[in-house]
Symmetry: D2
């Protein structure tokens, strides 16, 4: 396996599986002199933690994070921040459940491709590294990234946009989104829509099924200038980071797929000068990015989240040991919908990418010798 590191300058490297002893994460590129506590990381982890509402998997992981390096007397030293989360809710009964079906491809899961890639040694226990469990460390690193962003006046907020065709429509102003969204367990700031979404998911859960949906992530306060013009456009790096989350099947920036029906002058965002003579844009079809570079407007992304593939319904499958077709019934614990738990993960990937680009841009920019009145 390759690719357990993301980022160029702000680099997150992680390991750990669903049923391994622990997950580790090493975050490189953390500035010195920043206060940091386990508790601040824990706050974000607790949002992702399972077993909290009827919409989550009943797995009881405390996800207690411990920072073991990079700190001295409560402040970062510049050294990489190392974090450990031990897996605690591992039981022989669950291992046995996995062992019993280890040769069966679970539809919608990664078993088949893992077996093709790693042979019989592919981790069959709780999906190994293909489990959503690995996203813990994305959230831990994301919490650190968010703290760095806060120092730059940047905030990343996500919420559930739709679920099984029920759309959030009554979205409060940015400042209120987080507060409103967290009032319900599907993390949707439109309370009325949230209620309908939750009812629908619980209904689907009762059928032994799971529910798809979509989320929106907004980054506010990103200064104009982030992103590299060609292969590392800001949207390209964000797309890389976001599409690396399992279960995401689609991604839009700004107007997204609606541009396919727009004329040029409908799609273009027209600039104006605000009261501070700062360049702003009247609309945000671009989603805050022009030519691969942030333009100072909100960066707005929408993600399609597939339903959890684990269902209680009998499904056709293949026994890879016997190489014969068979069926697979109900198995183990799962989330009735991934929406609320995927939100902190997606926010984290956005935050990590923004810090990485800040580091790159600041370095490049510091080498430019001229005064730039427009910056």
């Amino acid at each position: 396996m390759l690719g357990n590191t993301i980022g160029r300058m702000f680099r997150v490297t992680a390991c750990g599986e669903s049923y391994g002893d622990a997950l580790l994460c090493i975050v490189d590129g953390v500035p010195a002199g920043m206060e940091l506590t386990d508790g601040e990381i824990q706050v974000e982890l607790d949002r992702r933690r399972p077993g909290q509402t009827p919409l989550d998997s009943p797995r009881k992981e405390t996800d207690q994070v411990k920072i073991v390096s990079g700190l001295l007397e409560g402040k970062t030293t510049g050294a990489p921040v190392g974090m450990i989360i031990y897996n605690v809710d591992r039981h022989d009964i669950h291992v046995q459940q996995y062992r019993d079906v280890k040769d069966l491809i679970r539809p919608g899961h990664a078993e088949y491709t893992y077996i093709v890639k790693y042979g019989e040694y592919a981790d069959w226990c709780g999906a190994g590294r293909a489990s959503g469990r690995e996203t813990c460390m994305r959230v831990a690193a994301g919490a650190l990234a968010k703290k760095i962003l806060a120092g730059e006046g940047i905030k990343v907020v996500g919420y559930t946009k739709s679920c099984m065709g029920i759309a959030a429509e009554n979205i409060p102003p940015f400042e209120k989104i987080e507060e409103e969204a967290r009032k319900n367990m599907i993390i949707c700031p439109d309370q009325e829509a949230a209620k309908r979404m939750i009812d629908r998911v619980l209904e689907i859960k009762d059928e032994g099924e799971t529910a798809g949906g979509s989320i929106e992530i907004i980054a506010r306060g990103v200064p104009a200038g982030l992103g590299e013009p060609v292969f590392d456009k800001l949207q390209a790096c964000l797309a890389h980071a976001l599409m690396s989350i399992a279960a995401i099947k689609g991604l839009e920036f700004g107007a997204g797929f609606k541009v396919a029906e727009m004329k040029g002058s409908e799609c273009n965002d027209f600039p104006y000068l605000d009261e501070n003579r700062k360049v702003r844009f009247r609309t945000n079809n671009a989603g805050g990015i022009l030519g691969g570079i942030s333009n100072g407007e909100d960066i707005v992304m929408r993600l399609a989240v597939k339903p959890t593939p684990t269902v209680s319904v009998e499904q056709p499958t293949i026994d890879m040991a016997k190489m014969e077709e068979t069926t697979l019934g109900a198995i183990t614990r799962r989330d009735p919908t991934l929406l609320s738990r995927i939100l902190p993960v997606a926010e984290s990937m956005v935050a990590i990418t923004l810090v990485d680009h800040l580091l790159m841009w600041r370095g490049y920019d510091a080498m430019q010798k001229f005064e730039n009145p427009w910056k």
Copy 2:
């Protein structure tokens, strides 16, 4: 500027602007012993070349590519392949046109963010590196990547899926798509839809406007096993490569945004054994990727393409030198729609990414010491 290289092992590095002397491209990671001619690259470049139909910009670039390194007696030597394309259709009159409006932000274009990033030194002439002109070299490198993929039995084909709400619906089998699509200038294999799309674009062009749409790219023959399970999932790297193309505002894999309304068992693709006892899937909602790794089915991507931002309609804008609001009228040459010209670019980015992953996977796999009967 950073980020003019893409890929880890198969690496494409490019430079060149709209009104510079030449574009260069260096492709690293090319295997030795492969026949290669300028002509083979040219075939793909000719698909992207402007000035060929009423749907393209009238700019007359011949885009003549010359391979200057990496070949000996018609075969690759393993050394990096270097390519040059000289810009030929540059005229003082156009330079003057750009100079006249160099302080005005062209709505929907990159000027504002470039000025913020590079100050007054930002290339105002034909959009510099933000011009679609840079995509020449993506296509040249893509042609090379496609040739490598052909040797592996992999083919990447794209076509126009929709334009201004008119959708291609009658899609022929994969083998016929390319032939059918190239029968019309909007590169859509549904001839009837194509006709309506073209009529609509020409209508819009007459208004001085431009048209958005969407494209679909399919990669067939990709063996199961490509892609890395965590941060470098195959879809993540494809998303990076594809979202690095200017004008793309949305991206879907397989069922894409439709998963937001699906239940688990509707979304899951069920495996079966085909006549050769090979694992196949009855549906392809996953778009050919499970757990970040190709599963042997077609990799299917859809991209939202925004309308060309250059229009003849008067638009509000800002004069950055005077820092005052003003308007901008008709300027220079443009494509009435980007759809047909963006297709070879998108195919190229997919091909480049696949070769990169083949190199990574083959290296990793060669280090595994066991027999893997499922590969």
Copy 3:
């Protein structure tokens, strides 16, 4: 701080400081299906462990390593291998010793440059990440790399070549070096020279001083073909890895600095065909690398190791808080010479680099479609 990851495909990422809670290491690119135990890693760590002989620092770290991910039932799964080593020999009295001199630059140490780089937040406690303590994880990752190399028939062995002008001259055949070298505490296979070296170091230790020397590392069994011809020549990547070890001030391959006095035909190694009609070379001035690529002969490197900078002698220095000149007397624990403890570190960096190149080469080579009778 950046740069806590090394390697392109086989990637080692580490964190942890001298007086932090723990050191972590994540190794990416490990093939699946390989048996691996904590004990195998521990064997190599025990070679680097302090407090074992009068030549080492008296610090008592057990350096107990625990693998927490990447394994299932004793075999690697392909997932990244995560390792933890907790720091146990940390005492308030030592912390206080460091606190007392935290504003004083320790000559030959990294304090000054760390303060310039990280300000007052630079880790003053036991040198933080500048401590030799970080090399634990190089050795742990190196043990894993050596195991992979063993499967390829490659072995990396190092020994003390000289110390304070006393040179090892009677070097046994490669197969015997390890056994002979480990017979004495300075790890030198020439027993007579070893005795004189040890006596000299103990004498110097009694003066409150420390001793410099040099080591030689040999990699045998490396197949011809590893290394990339231009910027990533095998010697360039090995030099990067080896010069990243603190205390190394010089590096030679093959004949090394002796080439400065050679004529062309003296320096050239002449090829011949051995009894198996395999190409071999009569001499090895090249140190096993031609044109940046291994030629099948032993890869031979020599490294200059500076004396431990911590001494008991009073030394001039600067108080960075007061910005005034002062002196610094005896402080804390140290190794009288770094030679024996640096050996497993240097071997590890060589092993890590070789695995990385094997992965790159195998991937590239697998894409070449021709038969190569010379490989």
Copy 4:
């Protein structure tokens, strides 16, 4: 072939062979707003150009460089700088000479390893990419890097330190080295030693042989703070860059191999406060780097340069086509010593590495929110 790019943020990518049509180079990470002309690059290229003195190869390449991108009206735009050098001194007679011996391994050259790696497709004509010809583009990129460094007050100067046992001993102050060294054709600032070196090389040339030697490179003005503490120590990255130059077999920083005979307090450099209350060091055994980070003193490196492997003396070799032993007589043009021509190449690799680290450090540093009085 991989590895034709070097650098993380300031990235140089090159291609081109000895007998190909042209060499290309793309330099990414160039700040905007910098004046730049072909002529400035040419000055450095002319230092490396062959055919200028009896110590060089008689090959007559004009090495005329043309910048084709990244400039607008004489200033950099931030876009990557692309450069072309056409090969002009290619003659059928030389191609035929190479063809005649294409199956023979030239001792000390890369043929054998290239054939192992690329099979019969390895470039046999003038050594392809293994030729010193590729270093043109290192020098071109280095000229650009030097210009950036000049804007930061950093200068990189190299000179011949020894040749065939004759050492330069009378070294003028740094400011005078360049002027004095360029007074003679072996580029040694000790005129008396230079004369003896030249006489010795000409004598050796008359024998049909070639001469080894060593060079020293000094970087002055590097601010304290460059380099990353662990795997990307400044000396590690410099070592990577320098050891990527063919013919270099050894490398030292500061006291180099002399540290092997030093005691701790002899090797340590003691800090003091200069008249401006700036921290300086009384000696420079460290070679300007402590803990992997520059300390503000001169960065001093010495490199062992092997004799040109091409000689006129009959040498034993192998015919790879027939797989039989044979001999190889006099062939083609060569440099009697590489010393003078390798100097601009080595300076360039140092300059490129320093710019890369400046970009990384500046980016990181800009994220630190505290005042650092020691910087």
